[in-house]
């Protein structure tokens, strides 16, 4: 069979063009992929909102660059003599192929041409192995794939939030408050949600903006990693990005909403009690469907203290061992003192704005606070589960924060705490709300607490703070219509466990918050 050198040259040139195209394509692909990765890194670090469709666009620029580079590479004319020399070297042909090309270019007959053709005819069968895909091409292509994969991973894997800015904290609190509410998806609960999460009042605009962002960002905000939490614990001061000021107006609105909710429940319970008293004993064992529906509505509205809400649930799903009357009486007992005091103070409360929040009490009310605490301690320890509720300022002046003058230790007198089960927990024993019978007996020590509170009398509260990310809930004192909330430490512990925080570190977190609030808040 005659040696078709022209055909061989054509095939060789085509392969060379493809290889050249692949080489450039891999270069373009790798370069653009690296750029995409860098861009994605910047986007994630800067937390720029990224829509979902952008994920598919991650691959498009590298693909486009690779395609363009391939086209350019294929269009470039390879140097045939050098290609032939490469094939000669690879196949050990002693430069015969390239010499044959030279003879063909020279033209005319030559004794050497025939000899060379006869020698290379059988030797070039494996010429393709002389022009393999370059390792550099493979490496570049692989690097590009890795870059794209990393970029994609960056897009879909939530980054740990190093610290949330105060601007985003309100949104976070809003999300968290909704998470804490089991029935937050119910449309009827929307007003109550606003009532229990005052931060949402000022974040509506932001929420609308955030609706366009990906769910990935939301998961970023909620799923901070252990490293992030620990970094927050160790790297930031309490005044830096961890606390956010809560305006008195927001607390006032919150308190107003909570007061309305608790009053409505109390009135409903009183009506139930009256009906039970008026009804014959045989008919009084169950709630009517209307009453059940009303109770459910009140629960759905939200804003109720957990104990009250739990009691209402117990009333609706009454156990066999307890009667309706018993449960209703128990619930009304919770309002007992409130009901007595409300009649005398409700007018003042409505006329004078709530002066402070859970963290503020005006110095003029210290004596009144002591009286309340003494009364609470006699109510079988109910007050121990309740943080300090803010009371109205008798002077009618809004309390102001002394800010820099107020040391963290001042807050020991104004914290709320879940100290019922473990008084050693935040604010449990030392906080006024955590007063127990034993503590009442140690009155001198309690007097020293009063001394501590005097620091607050030297200045006025200007700002009040809620610790970022801390789940808050209304304190039972809110049943009296006063704005007060407390921290649910069990909820905090639950959140930390979900985030994989070691048990030992939970104590560190608790100690941290205790430290920054000197007793908890």
């Amino acid at each position: 069979m005659p040696f078709d050198y022209s055909r061989f040259l054509g095939v060789l040139e085509a392969r060379a063009r493809r290889l050249r195209g692949l080489s450039l394509a891999s270069l373009g692909w790798a370069g653009t992929s690296a750029a995409v990765l860098a861009g994605m890194l910047a986007v994630r670090l800067l937390r720029i909102p990224l829509p979902y469709w952008s994920l598919s666009a991650l691959v498009l620029p590298p693909l486009f660059a690779g395609a363009v580079a391939y086209a350019i590479g294929r269009s470039s004319q390879p140097r045939i003599p050098l290609l032939l020399l490469r094939v000669d070297d690879a196949l050990g042909l002693k430069a015969r192929l390239s010499s044959l090309y030279e003879l063909r270019q020279r033209g005319g007959g030559s004794i050497f041409r025939q000899r060379i053709e006869s020698e290379v005819r059988d030797a070039i069968s494996g010429w393709r192995s002389a022009l393999p895909i370059a390792r550099r091409t493979i490496v570049q292509g692989s690097a590009g794939v890795c870059c794209v994969a990393l970029a994609f991973g960056l897009a879909v894997v939530p980054l740990p939030s190093v610290s949330q800015s105060p601007l985003n904290l309100a949104d976070t609190l809003s999300t968290l408050a909704q998470d804490l509410r089991p029935d937050s998806t119910d449309g009827s609960a929307a007003p109550a949600t606003e009532a229990t999460a005052p931060m949402t009042l000022r974040t509506d605009g932001e929420s609308r903006e955030q609706s366009d962002t990906t769910a990935l960002e939301a998961s970023d905000r909620n799923d901070a990693t252990l490293d992030d939490i620990m970094r927050d614990l160790t790297g930031l001061s309490p005044n830096e990005a961890v606390l956010v000021p809560v305006s008195p107006d927001e607390i006032e609105e919150l308190a107003k909403l909570q007061g309305e909710a608790t009053r409505a429940v109390r009135q409903l319970l009183e009506r139930i009690r009256d009906r039970l008293e008026d009804s014959p004993p045989t008919d009084s064992s169950e709630l009517t469907p209307e009453e059940l529906a009303a109770l459910q509505r009140e629960i759905d509205r939200g804003g109720l203290p957990p104990e009250l809400e739990q009691g209402l649930n117990e009333l609706m799903n009454r156990p066999e061992s307890r009667s309706v009357e018993e449960i209703v009486e128990q619930l009304l007992d919770q309002f007992g003192d409130d009901a007595e005091s409300e009649s005398g103070s409700s007018e003042d409360e409505e006329s004078a704005p709530p002066q402070s929040t859970a963290v503020a009490r005006s110095p003029q009310n210290i004596d009144e606070l002591l009286e309340e605490l003494g009364q609470a301690s006699s109510d079988e320890g109910q007050g121990s589960d309740v943080g300090v509720s803010a009371g109205p300022n008798e002077s009618g002046e809004p309390s102001q924060d002394t800010d820099g003058e107020q040391s963290a230790g001042d807050r020991s007198s104004i914290v709320g705490a879940n100290g019922m089960e473990d008084p050693s927990q935040v604010g449990g024993s030392e906080g006024p709300g955590g007063a127990t019978d034993e503590e009442e007996q140690r009155e001198p020590g309690f007097v020293r607490e009063e001394e501590g509170a005097k620091i607050g009398s030297e200045g006025e509260f200007v700002n009040e703070f809620v610790t970022e990310g801390v789940p808050i809930e209304l304190a039972p004192d809110s049943a009296r219509g006063e704005p007060s909330f407390r921290v649910n430490y069990e909820q905090i512990a639950s959140i930390l466990r979900e985030r994989g925080l070691p048990e030992g570190a939970i104590e560190i977190v608790r100690d941290y918050f205790n430290a920054i609030t000197e007793g908890g808040s």
């Binding site: 003599p81 050098l82 032939l84 020399l85 490469r86 000669d88 070297d89 002693k94 430069a95 015969r96 390239s98 010499s99 044959l100 090309y101 030279e102 003879l103 270019q105 020279r106 007959g109 030559s110 004794i111 050497f112 000899r115 060379i116 020698e119």
Partner: protein
């Protein structure tokens, strides 16, 4: 047009020539090949080595094998140019005196310029025209030299006393330069055996004619060399220049002037002849490598630093060979 028969004849002639020379010369295969290469390329060869290594014998053997006119010029410090090229002398013919040109020893086919660097540069330069243009000009007359023509010069190492380094212009006209090494033990034993027993050394009978040589030269020039190898040779040559982007660091440091374009011609032509002598039908990279040092070593001019530090040109060329990629 070269025919298949021409190729076969030429290869046969040179195989026979090589074996006849090797019957006399012990070892020095590379020197024999260099001499035949120079003959095939219409070039000249300079052999460098200490006295007594058989340089002169090699040239005489080559001339005898070729059956060509041979002349030997022993260069001495008092040798004059006219002693080489010839001169006009007054002759009397039929009672009439006239100047008649008396050709010098340069008028031969094979000229041995023995110890060429012992003559003064002026006398050395007398060979320039003969070596390059194959002509000799005396007075107003120019005389052509008969082909095939080849000058085979020998020289002692430059460091030896009483030597004059050849001018760059002249040494550049030598196609190749070969260093004659000292024979090995076995070769030395063979040399003593051949020279001390029997009738001694007998020069071989002629095995080739002038026409065979000329035909072989045509065959050699027809041997193809790939464009990629031409490009390679050019890059090698540029790499010997200190100001070239292709040159290795040591060339930039120690070389004053690199090889001239004549060096590239010598390398390509020499590679062709080398391929022919190897029985190949095209130039290979190995041919270039084998001729690389011989074709370029004498064309590099070291700078003062290179001379002062005694840098070896062969080492510099080895750097060049390693530095320049075969496929760019």
């Amino acid at each position: 047009m070269i025919t298949e028969r021409d190729l076969e004849v030429a290869q046969t002639v040179f195989r026979r020539l090589t074996s006849s020379i090797e019957e006399v010369i012990v070892g020095h295969d590379e020197i024999i090949r260099a001499a035949l290469t120079a003959l095939l390329c219409k070039g000249n060869l300079i052999l460098e080595g200490v006295p007594g290594l058989g340089k002169t014998l090699l040239v005489r053997t080559l001339a005898a094998s070729l059956g060509l006119k041979f002349s030997r010029i022993q260069f001495t410090p008092d040798l004059m140019p006219a002693d080489i090229v010839g001169t006009d002398i007054i002759t009397e013919e039929s009672g009439r005196r006239q100047f008649t040109f008396s050709p010098g020893p340069v008028f031969a086919n094979v000229v041995l310029a023995d110890e060429i660097n012992r003559a003064t540069p002026k006398t050395q330069s007398a060979l320039l025209e003969a070596m390059e243009e194959r002509t000799v000009t005396v007075g107003s007359h120019t005389y052509g030299l008969e082909e095939p023509y080849i000058v085979l010069a020998t020289q002692n190492p430059i460091e030896m006393e009483g030597t004059y380094p050849l001018p760059e212009a002249q040494i550049d006209r030598f196609l190749l330069k070969a260093n004659v090494r000292f024979p090995s033990l076995d070769e030395l034993v063979a040399i003593t055996e051949r020279n001390t027993e029997g009738v001694g050394i007998r020069l071989p009978e002629p095995t080739a004619t002038a026409e065979d040589i000329l035909t072989s030269r045509e065959v050699v020039r027809e041997i193809p060399i790939a464009e990629g190898l031409r490009d390679y040779v050019a890059r090698l040559l540029l790499a010997t220049h200190p100001n070239s982007e292709h040159s290795p660091p040591r060339i930039r440091e120690y070389v004053e002037y690199g090889a001239s374009p004549r060096g590239a011609l010598a390398l390509i032509l020499g590679a062709k002849a080398n391929a022919f002598l190897a029985g190949e039908v095209n130039v290979r990279r190995e041919d270039i490598r084998e001729l690389f040092h011989a074709a370029l070593a004498h064309r590099l001019v070291l700078n003062f630093k290179g001379e002062a530090e005694g840098v070896s040109v062969d080492e510099l060329l080895a750097d060049v060979w390693e530095h320049v990629p075969a496929n760019a």
